[in-house]
């Protein structure tokens, strides 16, 4: 590898980073030194890719950029998990971790999933466009392509078993220049090679016929029927609940702080709730997956967050568009994925996401500039849309490596660690397939030590509460007659009944905060953004979990909604 280092050195020198020091560690190239800004940090990281190393560990510091980052950490500190023993400990409750927990629960194993937040799917898994990508925008031969294609094909079955909604509206990659239509045969051949079915080239007129509101700039499109939509947080919840129903344990507010190593094995997982004995650890920590790898002494990659800002449009726009719309990305090297207009499974249209590099992994704030970008770049794809239709907007970050590929493999140096890391777009589409492979890898490692049997009680079907909105008239009336709270609508924008909120509170994976209920039952997700239902939801939570109204939170502890009662000062005065 000495030669490799020389080549990297040369490249970095030519890019203007002679100060960066290089070394090799367990097959990865390690970058150290200091640069002036984040762009330089990224340029150096990308510059080190492609010289035969396993990965790039970018430890370069950026002057003036130290310890100023957002990161939520659990407030609790106890020993409730100390000395507990699990065959498998999964780090991270995003869609990857939850899907792995469910697939592992097919086996007779003691499984623990640790999530540092108060709920699952709070980061990337609830901050994306909910699209099941066709495996088109991924490089043939990459892990991304492998998992995207397989995962995409698994969704129908998974949706049937876990009971989440899934549709396949298809997508149009719009062309903006007339000559691009000449690339049609090339695109079709590429699609065939990548294993896609039904990719077609549509003329400008055909696109206009399909989508009458399409913007005028389009010059035809590539049509990909294997493009689906789901609510990504609901898929994550469905996976998690089925895992729990099959015996897995989920621990919220539990953050991994380090590992107890015994030689080349992880013996224990250090958390804010004590040390957990682990037979095997799965790293599914998303934007923090490099930190988890580092804790095990097995870091060979770097996550650099790529932020995406998303806006959601009023449901009344939904009928203005049938397919997922985006501009064709004909520049294969571009990492700034296009984004576009995605119809959502719950009836809105989503605008975005943007793609900008940021040093801050959990900074989900938005700015006027980013919104303006969405308005000017994406909104014109559908002429029926206007800025007035925005009902909310938010941001997420993608867990990107410099290699821009997924890492799904057993650790080469730690006997009982499996990585599912660097999962960015199309991670949602890939999740079912990644979970199956990680499970195979984990089980084969565990089998070296013990005989692992199938879980005799495994049920692939998730048991779930009724959804009155999806029932036929007679069934719905039977449900309301048996339990009138299903007839009492409390969220008027999304037509959510009190019964559904109560079900979410007492579900397999309980939802105890305003936002958690919003992600499960949709109360507060509509055009009034909780203006009318918030008081009702607050009262229902307080009643159902038997806690004081001042303790009910919007999200994690520290986000209490109500600070006291009226007249409490006056009352205190009388009592004295």
């Amino acid at each position: 590898m000495e030669g490799g280092l020389q080549l990297v050195k040369k490249t970095l020198q030519s890019k203007g980073f002679p100060q960066v020091e290089l070394s090799e560690r367990r097959g990865a190239v390690v970058l150290e030194g200091e640069v002036q800004n984040w762009d330089d940090y990224l340029a150096a990281g990308y510059g080190a890719v492609g010289y035969g190393f396993r990965g790039v560990v970018n430890n370069i510091t950026v002057s003036g950029l130290k310890n100023c980052f957002t990161e939520s950490r659990p407030a609790v500190k106890d020993l409730s998990l100390d000395s507990s023993e699990f065959d498998v400990v999964i780090v991270g409750g995003g869609i990857i971790g939850c899907a792995i927990a469910r697939e592992l629960s097919r086996w007779d194993l003691k499984i623990a999933l640790l999530e540092k937040e108060d709920d699952i799917a709070k980061h990337t898994s609830s901050r994306n466009n909910g699209m099941i990508h066709p495996a088109m925008a991924v490089k043939l031969g990459s892990k991304k392509h492998h998992y995207n294609l397989r995962g995409n094909r698994m969704y129908d079955q998974v949706a049937g078993e876990l009971g989440f909604e899934l549709e396949w509206p298809g997508s149009l990659a719009l062309l903006t220049k007339s000559w691009q239509i000449l690339l049609g045969p090339l695109a079709k051949r590429s699609a065939r090679k990548k294993g896609l079915h039904g990719v077609k080239v549509f003329s400008r007129r055909k696109v206009k016929d399909l989508e009458p509101n399409i913007g005028d700039e389009q010059r035809g499109a590539f049509y990909m029927p294997e493009s689906g939509i789901v609510a990504p947080y609901k898929v994550t919840v469905a996976y998690a609940e089925n895992a729990i129903q099959n015996g897995a344990r989920l621990f919220m507010n539990t953050m991994v702080q380090g590992f107890v190593m015994e030689g080349s094995r992880i013996a224990g997982v250090r958390t804010n709730r004590g040390i957990i004995q682990a037979g095997l650890v799965v790293n599914a920590a998303g934007i923090w997956s490099d930190r988890i790898a580092e804790m095990a002494g097995d870091r060979f990659f770097t996550i650099h967050p790529r932020k995406g800002v998303i806006a959601i449009l009023d449901k009344k726009t939904r009928n203005s568009q049938k397919l997922i719309l985006g501009r064709a990305q004909l520049n294969g090297r571009s990492h700034t994925k296009g984004g576009g207009l995605t119809p959502l499974i719950d009836g809105n249209i989503l605008v975005g996401p943007t793609a900008t590099e940021t040093p801050d992994r959990e900074d989900y704030s938005t700015s006027a500039k980013e919104l303006q970008f969405l308005e000017e770049n994406h909104l014109p794809l559908n002429k029926a849309l206007k800025k007035d239709d925005f009902i909310t907007y938010f941001a997420g970050t993608r867990a990107c490596t410099f290699e821009e590929d997924f890492i799904v493999e057993a650790s080469k140096y730690v006997e009982n660690l499996v990585h599912a890391a660097g999962i960015q777009s199309p991670g949602l589409a890939s999740a079912p397939a990644i979970a199956v492979d990680v499970t195979d890898i984990a089980v084969s490692i565990l089998k070296k030590k013990a005989d692992i049997k199938a879980n005799p009680n495994f049920n692939p079907r998730r048991l779930e509460a009724p959804n009155p909105g999806k029932l036929g008239l007679e069934d719905r009336n039977r449900l309301i007659a048996a339990n009138p709270s299903y007839g009492r609508i409390i969220c008027r924008c999304e037509m959510v009944s009190e019964g559904e909120v109560v079900d979410a509170i007492h579900a397999t994976l309980p939802a105890h905060s305003i936002d958690a209920i919003k992600r499960r039952a949709r109360a507060g997700m509509g055009r009034c953004q909780g203006g009318f239902c918030t008081p009702a939801v607050l009262n229902i939570i307080s009643r159902e979990i038997n806690s004081d109204i001042t303790e009910v939170c919007k999200r994690e502890p520290g986000s209490e909604m109500i600070v006291g009662r009226t007249k409490d000062k006056a009352r205190a005065g009388y009592e004295n």
Binding site: S365, F390, R476, P484, G487, T534, L538, S559
Partner: protein, 416 residues
């Protein structure tokens, strides 16, 4: 179920509509989505309601009580906790699918429909406030509901964005409850609400009002920790270098109200983009025969007394429609120079009409002209007109055969 007139919403507009339809001899079904009728009046415990109608300053609940007693005395059926799941038209009748906890889902056919569905508040996202989404951001109406209906205090150190009436009323209310209101920020160069609220809610309680300024960012990830405020230029964009940080735990928004017509829109009725409500004639009939709109669903009123008036007009016309005694307005009313809007937007000839309008800007010594072609039908002088203060004007019956009347405001020559 079948009914002559179905009224959606038992707030002040719906209660008046139901009463008037009943008095007009029609069978009436009134539905309300909440467990108690009265609409937003229930949470308006301040006074000032009923000055026009009763020449008395009532509280919101008192005002609602009067109408509710009248509705009860005439045995009008109110279905509470009842939602409209679906609304369609078939053979010129309105086919509704309703749901409530007692009856489940059930269909109702109505000859005439009065939508008294009120309005909702513009949200923080709709005025493009940035930052994360912590707890502690409330619309003024939500805060009013929490405090006045539930007795919950939403925050102790508050900044109010927007000087709409509810915002100013809530600034006072929070102060009375012992919270600290650090200031009311208004992006425009003048207050958005009624002058009486500026005086009685802000000035009397020494709550500072900052004009030409806005909140640009919310700080805090869990609970609001502070806001950035900034002065704005003439185009309402924040001026660089004027930002300052204000520590607080709550941001209250009073940044406008939006008429709620989402359940009607699929019927394909014509809407007025300047009011946000349907186009109506002086009987409050929309462009769909038999479909009436009233109250804040038509356009946002300043005074509940006028909301009730529009409800009564709609209700009695709806009863008339059931007896085939109602024609649709064809004469177009155009809001001309210096008018923000005028309602109704259509007129039936030969009938009195009440016209409401707002000026597009603050104007002194103005002349309102109502013209039909070259002919001036009415002249009226005003000493001062402000956009937040709606004006009410009674028009004489128009002759048949007119196509259009235009309302316009002209600044009078000052008598030097």
């Amino acid at each position: 179920m079948k009914t002559d007139v179905m009224v959606i919403g038992a707030g002040p507009a719906g209660l008046s509509a139901a009463l008037a339809a009943n008095q007009g001899g029609a069978g009436v079904l009134l539905i309300e989505r909440e467990s108690r009728p009265g609409g937003i009046l229930k949470q308006c415990i301040h006074d000032g309601f009923g000055i026009v109608r009763y020449n008395e300053k009532l509280s919101g609940p008192e005002y609602a009580f009067c109408d509710l007693e009248a509705v009860k005395s005439r045995n009008i059926e109110i279905l509470k906790n009842t939602f409209v799941l679906d609304l369609k038209m078939k053979d010129s009748k309105f086919k509704l699918l309703l749901q409530n906890p007692d009856k489940g889902v059930f269909p109702v056919t109505a000859t005439s429909l009065v939508a008294a569905t009120g309005c909702r508040e513009r949200t923080s996202r709709q005025v493009f406030i940035h930052g994360d989404r912590p707890a502690g951001i409330y619309s003024a109406g939500t805060a009013q509901n929490l405090i006045n209906i539930h007795g919950y205090l939403p925050g102790r150190k508050c900044v109010v964005l927007g000087s709409g009436d509810i915002g100013m009323i809530m600034a006072r209310r929070l102060t009375l409850e012992g919270a600290e209101v650090l200031g009311v920020y208004e992006i425009k160069s003048e207050v958005s609400g009624l002058t009486r609220n500026l005086v009685q809610c802000l000035e009397d309680f020494d709550i500072p009002l900052y004009l030409n300024s806005t909140v640009t960012k919310v700080h805090g990830a869990r609970r609001v920790e502070g806001v950035t405020v900034a002065a704005v230029g003439p185009d309402y964009s924040p001026l660089f270098g004027t930002e300052s940080y204000i520590p607080c735990d709550t941001l209250l928004l009073s940044v406008g109200l939006i008429p709620e017509n989402d359940i009607l829109e699929p019927l394909g009725l014509a809407m007025d983009t300047s009011t946000g409500g349907p186009i109506v004639d002086q009987q409050m009939m929309t462009t769909i025969p038999g479909l009436f709109s009233c109250g804040n669903a038509t356009h946002v009123y300043d005074l509940v007394d006028h909301v009730s008036e529009s409800g009564a007009t709609a209700g009695s016309a709806a009863a008339g429609y059931c007896k085939k005694d109602c024609v649709q307005g064809e004469i177009e009313v155009k809001a001309g120079d210096n008018l923000l809007y005028a309602v109704p937007q259509r007129l039936v000839p030969g009938k009195d009409s009440v016209v409401y309008f707002r000026s597009a800007r603050t104007m002194d010594n103005v002349l309102l002209q109502v013209e039909a072609g070259e002919k001036v039908l009415t002249n009226k002088k005003y000493i001062r007109l402000r956009p937040p203060e709606m004006e009410r004007l009674v028009l004489e019956p128009l002759p048949a055969g007119l196509e259009k009347v235009v309302l316009s405001l002209k600044e009078a020559e000052t008598d030097a």
